[in-house]
C-alpha cells in the first residue's frame, strides 16, 4: 500500500493502537504493522515523529522509564485522545460506508 494513502489517517490509527493500553514506540509500530496485516509498513524511524506530534496536541501522553539501564518512553491515550478517537472513528465509518457503496456499485448506464 502506498504510504501517502495512510498519511491523512496515521493519527487515527496510532490512537487506535494505543486504545488497548500504554505501549512503547516500537510496540506501537509493530502493532501498526501486524494489525494491518503488513499493509502499513512505514520506515519505523518515521513513525516516532507522528507520536510526538500527537503528544504535542495533548491526544497522547508519554512517560520515561529506565529498563535494563536503557531509557524507554511509553505512550498512553489521554482523555482528549480517547474522545478524538471516538469522533474520528465515527467520521471514518460514515466515510468508508459511502465510498464502499460507490466503489462496489455495479456500473449502470447513466440516465439523462
Amino acid at each position: 500500500m502506498r504510504p501517502e494513502l495512510l498519511k491523512g489517517h496515521l493519527d487515527s490509527v496510532l490512537l487506535a493502537v494505543l486504545e488497548g493500553g500504554p505501549r512503547h514506540g516500537y510496540a506501537v509500530i509493530e502493532a501498526l504493522r501486524t494489525g494491518s496485516d503488513g499493509a502499513f509498513d512505514l520506515p519505523t524511524g518515521t513513525v516516532y515523529p507522528a507520536l510526538h506530534r500527537l503528544e504535542r496536541a495533548g491526544l497522547i501522553g508519554s512517560k520515561w522509564q529506565t529498563v535494563g539501564g536503557r531509557q524507554r518512553r511509553s505512550y498512553h491515550l489521554t482523555p482528549a485522545g480517547r474522545a478524538a478517537l471516538r469522533e474520528q472513528r465515527a467520521v471514518w465509518e460514515q466515510f468508508s460506508a459511502a465510498v464502499t457503496a460507490l466503489l462496489t456499485r455495479h456500473t449502470r448506464p447513466a440516465t439523462t
Binding site: 516500537y26 519505523t44 518515521t46 495533548g58
Partner: protein
C-alpha cells in the same frame, strides 16, 4: 563490526543530521536506541544471526537521512515554541526599564500618551501577538485551532525577532535623539535592549537556516 558499533554508528549519523534543541535531540536518540534494541531482538527471534538482525533492524528504521528528515518538522516546532516563549518571558525584563524611564507624566494619561512616550509600542505589541499566536497554534490548542505548519512557525519566530529588534533599535534611537540623560535607569534600559538586539540577530540567522530545512513541510 559489532552489533553495538553498528547501532551506535547509525545513531551517530542520525544525530549529525538532526537539527534543533539539544534536549529534544537527546531524547529522540534515546528513544530510537530503545526502538532499535527492540527491533534487533524481534529479528533475532525470527532466527536471524545477530549481525543480520541488526542490518534488518536498521533497514526497517530507514536511512539516517530519512529518519532525520522525518523528525525535522517536530524539531522545528520545538525550536519555534521555545524561542517565542523566551521572547515572551524576557520581554518584560526589557520593557520595564523603558516604561519606568519614559512613562508619561502624570502616569495615568491613557494609551495615546503612552504611545507618544514609547513610539515603538505597536512593534512590541505586534511581536507579542505573533508570539502568542504561534504558541497557541502549535500546542494543545491545535485540537480546536488551525495548526501552524513548521515552516510558518519558523517564519513567525523570524518575524518576532525582527519586530523586537526594530523596536529596541528604535527606542534607543528615539532616546538618544531626545537627548535624555544617561542615568542608571537609561543605562539599564539601553543595555537590556542591546542584549535583545543581539538575541534577535542570532535568532534571525537561525530561522534562515531552519527555513531552508523545513520549507514545504506540513508536519
Amino acid at each position: 563490526m559489532t552489533t553495538e558499533a553498528q547501532v551506535s554508528g547509525y545513531l551517530t549519523r542520525v544525530a549529525a543530521e538532526l537539527p534543533g534543541p539539544r534536549r529534544h535531540r537527546a531524547r529522540i536518540l534515546a528513544e530510537l536506541r530503545d526502538g532499535l534494541d527492540h527491533a534487533v531482538a524481534a529479528h533475532t527471534r525470527t532466527g536471524l544471526p545477530s549481525d543480520q538482525a541488526v542490518t534488518a533492524a536498521l533497514d526497517e528504521f530507514g536511512s539516517p537521512h530519512t529518519v532525520a528528515e522525518a523528525f525535522a518538522p517536530e524539531l522545528a516546532i520545538a525550536y519555534a515554541r521555545r524561542t517565542v516563549a523566551v521572547f515572551i518571558l524576557t520581554g518584560p525584563l526589557v520593557g520595564i526599564w523603558w516604561l519606568l524611564l519614559l512613562r508619561p507624566d502624570p502616569w495615568r494619561t491613557g494609551a495615546l500618551a503612552l504611545l507618544l512616550a514609547i513610539p515603538v509600542l505597536p512593534l512590541i505589541v505586534a511581536a507579542a501577538l505573533t508570539a502568542a499566536t504561534t504558541l497557541a497554534t502549535t500546542g494543545r490548542l491545535i485540537r480546536w485551532l488551525p495548526e501552524t505548519a513548521p515552516d510558518r512557525a519558523i517564519l513567525a519566530v523570524g518575524t518576532v525577532a525582527a519586530l523586537v529588534l526594530l523596536g529596541d533599535a528604535g527606542i534607543i534611537a528615539v532616546y538618544a535623539y531626545s537627548g535624555g540623560p544617561l542615568h542608571p535607569l537609561a543605562f539599564l534600559a539601553i543595555l537590556a535592549s542591546l542584549s535583545r538586539i543581539v538575541c534577535g540577530i542570532v535568532t534571525i540567522r537561525h530561522t534562515i537556516a531552519w527555513r531552508a530545512r523545513v520549507r514545504g513541510t506540513n508536519g
